[in-house]
């Protein structure tokens, strides 16, 4: 676990760079986390992030299928928004833990 200054705030991250406290997240933090992954966040990115955060808050297990059925975008779209990690990268940028599902 490490503290890192992101968007002027001190944020605690685990060794894989996921936030350990989802409440430290805000949109500015997301933008900086996304930049590190080479992603420029758009409106649609934020919709996905909101969806993920809401599901996480409700204690749901997240799968790419669930996000694909959210109505925000389809699975192909998710791969375009978060290349190389449609669920893992998006969760990281959303400030929630790494997904534990295999699907």
């Amino acid at each position: 676990m490490a503290e890192k200054s992101i968007a002027g705030k001190s944020i605690s991250l685990n060794e894989e760079g996921f936030l350990t406290d989802a409440s430290q997240w805000d949109q500015e933090v997301a933008k900086e986390l996304a930049n590190e992954e080479g992603i420029e966040l758009t409106e649609q990115h934020f919709e996905v992030l909101e969806f993920l955060r809401n599901a996480h808050e409700k204690g749901e297990t997240l799968t790419i299928r669930k996000v694909g059925k959210s109505g925000i975008t389809d699975i192909k779209g998710l791969y375009k928004l978060f290349p190389g990690g449609p669920l893992k990268l998006s969760s990281k940028i959303a400030g929630i833990p790494k997904p534990t599902s295999c699907v």
Partner: protein, 167 residues
């Protein structure tokens, strides 16, 4: 768990030669898991594995209820092979397996294939297997790219940090 591999996996080539629910899903879960991690995935379906990409059969796969010592009753008791022989039992068990997977958000085969190809995974059918079972390209799911010989498939399996997996 930190996964800081010095030389991460770049590509998996997965061969599916059997057509039971568990064999096909092992292939699909591994392939989908790969593309979701940014790992390239190429799938080769042969022999009974072709059922997984044959339109008429893909969503009607079964799990074997005879000679399957790992199969258990819902309560955990061993599943007798004699019972598995009765008409309808295999279909019933298979339906139960599928509903269990649906609960875990594991999609039906056709949808799973679309998820994999949406992530850039590629599906191929084996020429020899197709000839054996008298199948035509039109019989296969639209997302299947091509019908290949073994040699063609191996030619796609080159490159650093590539693994061939036989499920």
């Amino acid at each position: 768990m930190s996964a800081k591999e010095e030389s991460p996996l770049k590509k998996v080539c997965i061969i599916c030669a059997k057509g039971t629910i568990e064999d096909v899903y092992a292939t699909l879960v591994m392939a989908n898991g790969a593309v979701m991690e940014g790992i390239e995935a190429k799938l080769f379906f042969t022999f009974f594995g072709l059922d997984a990409i044959t339109k008429k059969r893909m969503n009607k796969l079964h799990t074997g209820t005879v000679g399957n010592p790992a199969l258990r009753m819902p309560g955990g008791l061993p599943f007798p092979s004699l019972l598995g022989m009765l008409p309808g039992v295999e279909a019933g068990v298979s339906t139960m397996m599928k509903s269990q997977m649906e609960k875990l958000d594991v999609p039906p085969v056709d949808e799973f294939i679309e998820m994999i190809t949406a992530g850039g995974g590629e599906l191929y059918a084996c020429k020899l297997g197709m000839d054996m079972f008298n199948l035509e390209k039109e019989d296969l799911h639209d997302e299947v790219r091509d019908v290949l010989t073994v040699g063609d498939f191996y030619a796609m399996c080159g490159g650093e940090n590539t693994q061939i997996i036989f499920t």
